[in-house]
């Protein structure tokens, strides 16, 4: 029963990891920017929701909308004012990585200073567990997490497959020169990728704030998980990122069966490490970039 409980918890957490990782993977696939500040987007979104909903007692749909708005603005601003200028002078991986990492450090400390470094959580009826079978507790949030994740993923696939912007996004991930030849503006499409990728963190951020709670360092953790899931799943594959997110969530929880909770993160990174050494292209990866 404990095992089943851990798997259910794993699926709940994993669905949210998957969703965040898909956002990261979408940005990376389309723009080739390793967006280390993706975790910062997550933290901003979660804290805005917390502040509006739990402190100012705003109605929840408005809180979520506000959080979406801020996080999209953050993603687009980063693309315009940080990555854009860097790419126009020196587009090497290293400068972009450092710029992005710098933003993540600043955001984490700003949040720590404004909201405190302690642990906070949004009280909600959704996170109250119900005993489904003897010894098996499931909260409604688990169901919501899975349904939202699947809905967002299917929605995203439809968007990428059916709409013009979606097709342009996929084209950009193949070749930005060709996109320009067809008279589209790669900058505008990359802005879209940032908006969409950042938007995808909101459901995960909101649900995480209700279930496992937040602290100022959460951005760093989420960033690590997204990067890990993207690499394990295979860079450029959204499906891979989603599956790997789920896998990491389950692995992290299953680790509790045998090890102390402090080790759960370590187990996740052992998986990442093994993948990088043994199969750098991930499960669904095309070719390993060298």
């Amino acid at each position: 029963m404990l095992l089943l409980q851990l798997i259910i918890n794993g699926i709940q957490v994993g669905a949210l990891y998957g969703l965040t990782a898909v956002g990261f993977s979408l940005i990376f696939g389309a723009t080739k920017i390793f967006h280390f500040a993706h975790g910062a987007s997550f933290a901003i979104s979660a804290y805005i929701f917390y502040y509006l909903y739990a402190v100012l007692l705003v109605w929840w749909p408005i809180s979520i909308l506000a959080s979406c708005f801020v996080v999209v603005a953050f993603g687009v601003a980063l693309d315009r004012y940080v990555y854009g200028p860097i790419q126009s002078t020196d587009g090497s991986f290293f400068t972009i990585f450092v710029g992005s990492f710098g933003v993540a450090v600043v955001v984490q400390n700003l949040i720590g200073t404004v909201f405190g470094r302690g642990f906070i959580s949004v009280p909600s009826a959704l996170s109250k567990s119900v005993e489904l079978a003897p010894g098996l507790y499931v909260a409604p949030a688990a169901g919501i997490a899975v349904v939202t994740a699947v809905a967002c993923f299917v929605g995203l696939q439809l968007f990428l497959g059916r709409t013009n912007i979606g097709i342009a996004l996929r084209a950009l991930s193949e070749s930005s020169a060709l996109v320009r030849t067809f008279g589209l503006n790669p900058k505008a499409i990359s802005t879209c990728a940032f908006a969409l990728g950042s938007l995808l963190v909101v459901p995960a951020a909101v649900l995480t704030s209700m279930t496992s709670g937040l602290n100022a360092a959460i951005g760093g953790r989420v960033m690590l998980i997204s990067v890990a899931a993207t690499i394990v799943g295979g860079v450029g594959s959204l499906r891979g990122a989603a599956c790997a997110g789920l896998l990491l969530g389950i692995a992290e929880n299953l680790a509790l069966w045998r090890f102390d909770p402090q080790w759960s993160e370590a187990v996740m990174f052992l998986i990442l490490f093994a993948f990088i050494v043994l199969r750098p292209s991930g499960f669904f990866g095309r070719v390993a970039t060298s």
């Binding site: 450092v98 710029g99 990492f101 710098g102 690590l224 990067v227 990174f269 990442l272 990088i276 750098p280």
Partner: protein
């Protein structure tokens, strides 16, 4: 006041050793490691363990720490041989997280979260470095040796091979360079010397715990290299001086609450990293790199 300055200067020396060794793999080998604090920690823990269990002799602690760190560096060299760039950064981050967990959980050796206390001061040939000024001299001499040694290696044929690999791995391979061996050796050198800084740190403070060896520390070391100027001889030293003195300088600002100094410091260097990347990617001491 003198004691305060001596203390700062000693920490500057230790951080400069770390920045110089990190710059060696980042700037010349193109291996962007976010796990440098791991080897700093390994050096510190090995020194502390030996000092508490057996002897305070620096001549024994140093080789032991360098050897252990060098052996563990295989864990860093392995992904470095397989992948480059972002992938490697991710792998090193994973390694850093894993190592921090080991540091805080392996209680019989590392003392867990509480750390190890009462580490006796180091000694060479029976002479204990109890006076802070003497210890500063020791750290300063070590720093000079490390800078000279690193600069010599960079200028040697090994250093040129390293830069060739950074700029184009396949070209270096085509010229018959043993890429795997050169990368492994460079990581070994960098981490072994990094452990020396760890030994000095443990012996100097006589107290260590996992806090000094986390991802925040790795980020700080990387910031030192980047702010100073990656791939230059003096850049990392300048970066280490600036970023070590920054928190001390911030304490003179009366309107800042003490508890916020750490995070203000991190915000400043985070912002510095972003702005430098936008306006001057080569760092303060950077000279325009050629066709890199």
């Amino acid at each position: 006041m003198i004691a305060y300055l001596v203390n700062l200067a000693t920490l500057v020396c230790i951080n400069a050793i770390l920045a110089v060794t990190l710059n060696f793999i980042m700037g010349y080998a193109g291996i962007f490691s976010l796990a440098h604090a791991v080897f700093f920690g390994v050096g510190a823990y090995v020194a502390a363990f030996i000092a508490l269990q057996w002897t305070d002799s620096l001549l024994l602690q140093l080789p032991a720490a360098m050897l252990v760190a060098g052996l563990i560096s295989v864990a860093l060299a392995l992904p470095a041989l397989r992948v480059r760039g972002d992938y490697f950064v991710a792998a090193s981050l994973g390694f850093q997280v894993l190592a921090a967990t080991v540091f805080s959980e392996w209680k019989s050796v590392t003392g867990g979260i509480g750390g190890l206390v009462g580490i006796p001061p180091a000694s060479i040939g029976g002479h204990a470095f109890t006076d802070p000024v003497e210890f500063l001299a020791l750290a300063g001499v070590t720093l000079v040796l490390v800078v000279v040694l690193t600069a010599t290696i960079v200028r040697s044929s090994f250093g040129r091979s390293l830069k060739a690999i950074r700029d184009s791995e396949s070209a270096a391979l085509a010229f018959g360079k043993n890429v795997a061996l050169i990368k492994t050796l460079s990581v070994f050198y960098s981490t072994a010397i990094c452990a020396v800084a760890g030994v000095l740190y443990a012996d100097y403070l006589s107290f260590i715990n996992v806090e000094s060896f986390t991802i925040d520390a790795s980020t700080l070391f990387m910031a030192m290299v980047i702010v100073g100027g990656i791939g230059t001889v003096w850049g990392p030293v300048v970066g280490a001086v600036l970023l070590t003195l920054l928190p001390a300088a911030l304490t003179y600002l009366p309107f800042l609450p003490r508890t916020e100094i750490g995070s203000v410091q991190q915000m400043i260097y985070g912002l510095a990293m972003v702005l430098l990347m936008i306006f001057k990617p080569d760092g303060l001491m950077g000279i325009k790199r050629g066709e890199a």
